[in-house]
Symmetry: C2
Subunit: 267 residues, 2 copies
């Protein structure tokens, strides 16, 4: 694992979560979905009012990458300065990176995963929806709701009970032959794999509650690092099983589209 110097004590990222991050799959030094990662980071910079770094600065850590599969984590903060919450007039953003060897959870591609509903409801903050900012306490608290390693992920709903995402992955399903994923206008992170799939497939962004999953022919979780996991079992927040799915060709077709973008095999 290579990484850089630490965060100064007065960095606004450490003080207020005043920054953004991207977690990028790297194969043989080549970043996957790089354009989507740059686009999301730029969107976050625009929302927060942080100057977007030059692409060559963001790509510089790739020179340290080895021949295998790695994950590059880029963290960009507003830097130091300002007075309390007040941001400095001319922020000097601070960029740090970590590069680590990576192996995806291949067995989850093959056999699918069991997931559960989380009790925590995501708060609605349209200003911050979609971007990958550093205020992630909701994700941390949701992920702390279970310890059973047989549960791969937890599904998150908003305060009105609408499905949003999983703690670290986006959510997709097929209902009546139609591919759908939650609309992320109020909360949630718009994953780069989700963006890439929406631009390539006929995926509808919808507002939907639990009934969407109850009625779904197939459900998947996915992100740009792990690829796509078919969901084979859904528990409620009390751990009671609510629905099972058998893996079929529908599951594999969607997975193949996603994995082609990441250089992963079709299970």
């Amino acid at each position: 694992m290579s990484e850089q110097a630490a965060w100064p004590l007065d960095d606004r990222g450490a003080a207020y979560g005043d920054g953004l991050f991207e977690t990028i799959l790297v194969r043989g030094g080549r970043p996957l979905l790089w354009d989507e990662h740059l686009a999301r980071l730029a969107r976050g910079c625009h929302v927060l009012g942080i100057p977007m770094p030059a692409e060559h600065d963001l790509a510089a850590p790739l020179a340290e990458a080895g021949p295998g599969l790695e994950v590059l984590k880029l963290t960009l903060t507003r830097g130091s300065g300002g007075r309390g919450y007040r941001p400095p007039a001319a922020p000097e953003p601070r960029l740090r990176w970590q590069l680590a060897d990576f192996a995806p959870a291949e067995s989850r591609w093959q056999t699918g995963v069991r997931v559960r509903h989380c009790r925590l409801r995501l708060a609605s903050q349209p200003l911050l929806a979609g971007i990958k900012h550093l205020n992630r306490l909701e994700n941390v608290l949701a992920r702390a709701e279970w310890n059973d390693d047989a549960i791969a992920e937890g599904l998150l709903r908003d305060d009105a009970g609408r499905l949003v995402e999983a703690t670290a992955m986006n959510l997709f399903w097929q209902r009546a032959g139609r591919l759908e994923t939650p609309h992320l206008a109020r909360c949630g992170v718009a994953g780069t794999l989700r963006e890439a799939l929406i631009s390539r497939l006929d995926i509808h962004e919808v507002e939907a509650g639990d009934e969407a999953l109850t009625n779904a022919e197939a459900v998947w979780l996915g992100n740009s690092v792990q690829g796509v996991w078919p969901v084979v079992c859904l528990d409620d927040a009390a751990g009671v099983e609510r629905r099972r799915w058998s893996l079929g060709v529908t599951h594999r077709t969607f997975q193949a589209e996603a994995h082609a973008l990441l250089g992963y095999p079709c299970p």
Copy 2:
């Protein structure tokens, strides 16, 4: 200014805002409202599942304090470890502190302040309401809404238009002779000065919209570092003046109660 070593790159505070902070007024090495700060930190630790440090560790930086007025900032994170958002089973919290000379904005005690409504609406997240966690992007974005130094603070409402707080201070008013402050069950930070005043005065925690201020005889902002600022002018989010107040004995009485707790004079 004395301070400690930096944050490691893998610290969860820097990565996710997975931690808490306290900002404490210190006079001649003696912390003000210390019990209230400890109580809020303990409440935050309980909510986030972070072990509460021993009081002597939290108080250790006070040994570095000089004879004058200073502000001690304590930041406590869940430390390193865990896997992604998943917290480590046995977190080893990391405590850092900064101690800086301080002078309160005395002229604001005397002449009062002009404030404005912010456009940003605070998201409702009951799980995190009241505690002083490190996910403060809403405060940063709200504080970035204005640059005019004549505006001392911005008032924040929730998504239903209920008054909550100011970006870095709590809000109080008197209406029909009754002291009131917003209920903080859904969002906002329960300031230590607010806690101390509620336990000493007959202050009612209420749900109220803008009409509470329109009808108020007096309005104040306060926190444990700056003391209490009477509000003499309120602008809306477009900068249009909505209401003015003349300073009177009501303002000074409340201010005197608060300033007695902080060792500040009664203006």
